[in-house]
Symmetry: D2
């Protein structure tokens, strides 16, 4: 294992304020963070093979389930990739400035909030298409317009983005969608404020992609098409995650 570039540190149990995590989750997150940090910094370049599970256990002084959880999450986040019978390889590098702006723990939490938003907002968008009143539609259109104006002036604030998503949740005819979304938003708001600076795509390119995705969601809700509303919202959320970890460069 001598030639492996992975820096090893015995993990300490971290504090995670505001979140009740099991010990395994905390340790898994720590290991996730360690590996993420080294991918971000370039110490583990794309294409590098990670040590085998059994070696990661020894290197970091953790049990097999802790290692498995960290690897599983890195895979789910599109940062590493398991090739059958061969091992786990670094797949993508998040934006370079990530390391200086955000804690790995924050990245992990942000990616987890995305996982929940996929189902929650997909369902909210479906109900909005089924139930929105004319007033609620007008509110969604206003939020879309505000975001569009900011984007065209080179701005792209999380607030304007969030206002669009909130307007849809509020049009769902079920106020819990908006309150749960708010809850998720508060948990990651600190991170979101920096994350807009962190994606590798250029701000202008990214803004036009986000705008186009928002326009498709708005159209489906306007046309009262529940299937399209759900699918375009879920597509938008998977693409948001994708822009963050930036796993494809050949597009």
């Amino acid at each position: 294992m001598a030639d492996l570039p992975l820096r090893k540190t015995r993990l300490a149990e971290p504090e995670t304020p505001g979140l009740i995590l099991t010990r395994r989750q905390r340790m898994g997150d720590q290991l996730y963070g360690q590996i993420l940090e080294q991918i971000v910094s370039g110490r583990l370049p794309e294409g590098t093979r990670l040590p085998a599970e059994v070696d990661l256990c020894k290197m970091f002084g953790v049990s097999r389930p802790v290692v498995r959880q960290a690897l599983q999450r890195l895979r789910a986040d599109g940062l590493v990739h398991a090739r059958q019978g061969s091992g786990t390889y670094v797949m993508a590098r998040p934006a370079e400035r990530l390391a200086s702006f955000a804690q790995p723990q924050q990245v992990a939490e942000y990616l987890r909030s995305i996982e929940v938003r996929l189902v929650l907002e997909g369902s909210a968008a479906r109900h909005a298409a089924e139930r929105r009143s004319q007033t609620e539609l007008t509110a969604i259109e206003a939020a879309h317009e505000r975001f569009r104006l900011e984007a065209e002036r080179g701005l792209m604030t999380p607030d304007a983005d969030m206002a669009f998503h909130r307007a849809i949740a509020e049009a769902s005819g079920n106020s819990f969608y908006a309150s749960l979304l708010e809850h998720l938003h508060e948990a990651v708001t600190g991170f979101m404020n920096v994350s807009l600076h962190l994606t590798r795509t250029s701000p202008r390119e990214r803004a036009s992609q986000v705008l186009r995705e928002h326009a498709l969601i708005l159209e489906a809700i306007k046309l009262q098409d529940p299937d399209s509303a759900q699918v375009t919202m879920q597509f938008h959320i998977t693409q948001a995650r994708r822009r963050m970890v930036d796993r494809s460069r050949d597009e």
Copy 2:
């Protein structure tokens, strides 16, 4: 409209502490509550046809969208039923004691929390089947066992039920599932404490149904079968709603 038993009252805009609702939602909920109360009390027996939309607007001094929202929700909750080209009929009567224990607004909120739990907990159960550790499985089994013991002693507390659902959310590898579930739970906890007394099915019969559904969810998570875990959890939640409004008696 003279022969219609529906008591009419001009609606006042109610207070809904802790929830941000649009005016239309608040008025729609009020109307929903008025009709629900009269169904519960038996003043609107099963099989009765409700007044036409246009007449409901006049009777309650509200706009068409408000009436539509109230009817849509009554339909979604299985309390009334639209027959094409004929009108809307009372379909089911919730448990009789509902009227004395709970506010219609609480019933509306409870049914809305169910709608969100369907997607949220379905997804949590899927992830729990994919990711649960042995320790997390043991915690789910312990919660199941505790609920089983209470049920066999004729008790069935919301706490024991909630503990089972929480243990699954905590096994999902994503702590947001548990915190959002907690958030939903707190919003309806007052109602849930009385709701167990409100379903029409006998406590013993209901307890054995709930237990059987819990056992199927547990089995799917134990066997690491994500599809079955999601489907059995979603089935359990639709049945919980069904037991509340008790729309079928011929089973």
Copy 3:
């Protein structure tokens, strides 16, 4: 009703070879086709209000459920739009040449095949991400490359498109996905051969959109990301339908 531009014809029951339809479905499809044809030809321009349900019944000599089915399908296809309490309006016009190339019945069948493909191929893509072997991934990549080369040369054959979708179905580890997709494909193949000429977007613009969507599906399957694979496939299929009926022009 005199000022309504809708041409009325008493419907005859049509032949639908190879498909077992109920009488109501057949009549509903006929009416759907009548209205679609008049939208396509421009006789019913965008923004026109359709006659009320009761008037459509009289005009075409059909029952209320037949009218409802036709309107529901036109709505689901994004061709008309119901405004609450006001009526049904023409929303979008399919490509102009549609009328000369395809029978309305073929359009109806094509849109129905899309509805099933949404769930079927979404699920196949999810399983492909979970289970594909290296060989199966290579086959998907080859099909993608073949489609890309054709598209760059200004061609875009249904065969090359279908080959990409088939390669994914074959990587699902369940051969039924491929055989059901084949079954669907055969039912609409005649129509698909002309449909590529029928969308309003320019061939080059459309080709690059389709390519980009295919690339996202391929990436998700390559990275073994089941959620993204399902969502990007479902997004692609909703967009295919959208390009056909071309309901938005302001993008």
Copy 4:
């Protein structure tokens, strides 16, 4: 590996008439069949640990991906169970008479048809709840009644069961659901005729479970409740698979 009860045979490539399978799928199915046969016959009792992947490769002269595919399918079917860091264990035994009545390949195909029916029929039931006419509802009720009468007389033919499912597919407003279901049905009809004799649950107990599940689906479609219709249908299908492999005995 000497103490392992697994009988080893070098696999020959089998014929699978009517299905286009890749070589890997064919080999994986063969291995699946070998292991299934030995579980059914009791040569591999519940609780037995299977040989490691690398040893299975040597024993059967197949590559690692072939072994992985066979194990993955056995896991998905609830026949074996992977314990993290420990190995794969026999979990459940299908009905004993399975070995004499059905080829393992037939069992594999049947379980695969179930996987597709989960999404296909879930979607059909949702659309049936949204779109069924009164006539279509009556047809579903008639099919339900016919099945009920047979079940009460101790019969339970696949035909009566299939007629219920077909009536729902036909009420979906999209004739492709019925034709694809027919296609799936024909592929496994030979097996389904014997499978009713193969489940471990007693015929009478099973009939009453199936009836109850059908009644819940019917109720949801009658009440025009799309969510419940989809969820109860998907629950029914997961339970059908469960009754076949009979993985729980302590219920």
